[in-house]
């Protein structure tokens, strides 16, 4: 059996974790999209197991990249060569899909971003601030309230002929508005479409405020699965919106591309191998009481051996780690 050279990209977000295996021709060999469920380590192990079982080939991982809010944890678990923020990772992935992309709209479980590009480089970006009203969690919650499956949300929105206006600024107000509209007797499709419009309005008024959105526009992230939201964006912007085929794992694809570039420079990977799926991980938390900062220190053990320690402001604990690892070795 021929050994296949490939790259691994891992995106550990607040709501979902996804992993992509990409070959040297930038083809996606396998992808996994799953919920993080607050257990990132186990989920990463599970996802790697699934990737391995999907590809019936001998693999030679030449590079690994991680992104998402859990990128440092993921990097430590698998041994990553590149650890990148989500903005850069998403930007690079979209550029690979539409070379002259000018605007990227990315909406995930708990955050949303807008990235503006020109001549193939990122010129500007914004992320949502304190509130999750314009994100996937908001849609999930409203779908649950309406008693419909989130997967049907988009197609129902498209059936609407007379969308109602719903406040999109805040999930609580949106709910109040929605109940009111329901009790006036509006049909479900119109309310769903109203919600989609509200979310898009919120995104454009909040993140895109003062920014010039130009075509081509790429829409990615988990919410891009929702055709209703896509349509609302198209109508609000008056532009066509492209959803890439692997819209839900674009962060991981960006990581693969970054890992590929890193490897192309002649760097050897520090990937720990697929065997880590059989390891047992332990996490211990301690509160340091040496100063009034009372930092929450986290220690991560693999098969009883300490792997990482972080969370302190002064560096006292994290600096000790090297010595502790040497002592154990």
């Amino acid at each position: 059996m021929k050994v296949k050279n490939c790259y691994l990209g891992i995106d550990v977000g607040s709501i979902s974790t996804n992993v992509v295996l990409m070959d040297e021709d930038k083809e996606i060999m396998a992808k996994v999209y799953t919920g993080t469920n607050g257990k990132p380590i186990e989920v990463i192990q599970e996802a790697l197991k699934e990737i391995k079982s999907k590809v019936n080939k001998k693999l030679n991982i030449k590079g690994v990249g991680t992104t998402g809010s859990g990128r440092n944890l993921a990097a430590m678990i698998v041994g990553a060569d590149v650890v990148k923020n989500e903005i850069t990772a998403h930007g690079i992935a979209a550029l690979n899909f539409v070379g002259d992309v000018r605007t990227i709209i990315e909406i995930g479980g708990q955050d949303s971003k807008i990235i503006l590009l020109k001549d193939g480089i990122i010129r500007d970006f914004a992320m949502n601030t304190v509130c999750a009203a314009g994100t996937g969690s908001f849609l999930d919650r409203q779908a649950a309230r309406l008693g419909i499956d989130i997967k049907r949300f988009g197609e129902l929105a498209l059936k609407s002929t007379n969308p109602v206006r719903i406040a999109g600024r805040c999930a609580v107000f949106a709910e109040t508005d929605m109940i009111h509209k329901q009790q006036l007797g509006h049909n479900q499709e119109d309310i769903i479409r109203g919600l989609s419009d509200a979310m898009v309005r919120n995104f454009l008024n909040n993140l895109a405020k003062g920014k010039d959105i130009e075509a081509p526009v790429v829409f990615q992230g988990g919410v891009a699965a929702n055709v209703g939201i896509k349509r609302s964006f198209e109508e609000a912007l008056g532009l066509e919106v492209f959803v890439p085929p692997h819209y839900d794992v674009m962060g991981s694809i960006g990581c693969c591309l970054l890992a590929e570039e890193y490897a192309a420079k002649g760097n050897k990977t520090i990937f720990q191998g697929f065997n880590i799926i059989n390891s047992g991980y332990d996490v211990r938390g301690i509160e340091c009481s040496d100063c009034p900062n009372m930092c929450e220190i986290v220690e991560i053990f693999r098969d009883g051996k300490i792997m990482a320690r972080w969370g302190d402001k002064c560096g006292k604990w994290s600096n000790l780690i090297k010595k502790d690892i040497e002592n154990l070795a």
């Binding site: 923020n85 690079i92 001549d119 480089i121 990122i122 500007d124 970006f125 003062g210 570039e261």
Partner: protein, 330 residues
């Protein structure tokens, strides 16, 4: 035994502390400065402040509590106006009252009003009032103030040269290195109590330093430039802080002398809500300078701040390489 004057390490602290510290020390008082902001100070402040106040005011109250049992007086002047026809944030104007009503069991406050809105004619009187808490001798107070002013000028000159008071300790921010065009030059702006308090800014300055950024603050471009540019505004900006920043933004839009601007603002700040928008409009739209707004609050989620900083630095790096026609992303 000498009288102990406690100075809280918050709000105007980073702008004025060498002045007041020297002043009281020259009057033979013992000056005690509260500890650099830590979680306990923040927690205490949050617990003892009205909910609606901004984070810096809460932190200030935490510092007052830190000093409460260690000082004979706590220095909380009523800062109304530092320059003619200009004002300072309303929370500064009402600070002594706010502190008094938030915290129980306080020693007396030194809460003299500083108000130069009409003119500076009352300057001498104001200084005497501050001194009378310790001594009644006007000559001694005069002498102490002269000495204090000298120290204060040295301090301002140090900041101008890039020696910045991180947590109140003067630190050479760019390691004394001369700026090299190849590295990223970023201006950090915002209220001094947000920039220099490393706890509330989540260590922004040091994070940038670690990433090899050449950091500048508005003071380093010189007030003569800032004032000249601020004078070109359609209408006088009556907040001292706002005037300084808007002058800076016009200067930047014209000279395009930096690779990016990071604006650090505390959630709920009334002045920032206006200034930040005007600043962004000038520097981003007219000057095409990359702009990043970091909003800080009580939460300790550093991940969000780190992601934004990293992405911002990546973007600038990318842009710099593109403009110099070197390889693509990375």
């Amino acid at each position: 035994m000498s009288i102990k004057v406690g100075i809280p390490r918050g709000l105007w602290f980073y702008d004025y502390y060498p002045l007041w510290k020297t002043f009281y020390e020259c009057l033979d008082a013992e000056v005690i400065i509260s500890k650099p902001t830590n979680r306990k100070i923040l927690d205490q402040g949050v617990k003892n402040t009205v909910d609606e106040a901004c984070l810096p005011v809460k932190i200030f109250n935490g510092h007052v509590i830190d000093l409460k049992d260690r000082a004979d007086y706590i220095f909380v002047p009523k800062m109304m106006s530092a320059y003619e026809r200009e004002y300072i944030c309303p929370k500064f104007c009402g600070l002594p009252e706010m502190v008094l009503h938030s915290i129980e069991g306080l020693p007396p406050l030194i809460d003299v009003e500083i108000n130069f809105n009409k003119s500076r004619k009352n300057m001498a009187d104001t200084i005497y009032k501050f001194g009378f808490y310790i001594i009644k001798d006007k000559r001694k107070i005069n002498r102490a103030y002269c000495e204090a002013l000298k120290n204060y000028r040295d301090y301002k000159n140090a900041i101008k040269k890039g020696i910045l008071p991180i947590d109140g300790d003067l630190t050479e921010i760019n390691g004394g290195k001369i700026y090299d065009r190849k590295i990223k030059k970023i201006m950090v702006i915002g209220h001094t109590y947000n920039i220099y308090d490393s706890y509330s800014s989540m260590n922004l300055l040091n994070k940038l330093k670690k990433n090899g950024v050449h950091i500048i603050v508005p003071e380093m471009i010189g007030f003569e430039h800032i004032n000249r540019h601020a004078a070109t505004l359609d209408k006088k900006m009556f907040w001292s802080f706002g005037r300084k920043l808007l002058g800076t933004s016009i200067y930047l839009a014209e000279t395009r002398d930096v690779d990016g601007v990071i604006y650090i603002s505390s959630f709920g700040c009334g002045i920032d809500s206006i200034i930040q928008y005007l600043f962004e409009k000038k520097s981003r739209k007219e000057g095409e300078i990359p702009f990043l707004l970091l909003t800080i609050d009580e939460h300790t989620g550093e991940a969000g701040i780190n992601t934004r900083i990293e992405a911002f630095l990546d973007m600038i790096e990318w842009r710099k390489r593109y403009e110099n026609n070197i390889s693509t992303y990375g």
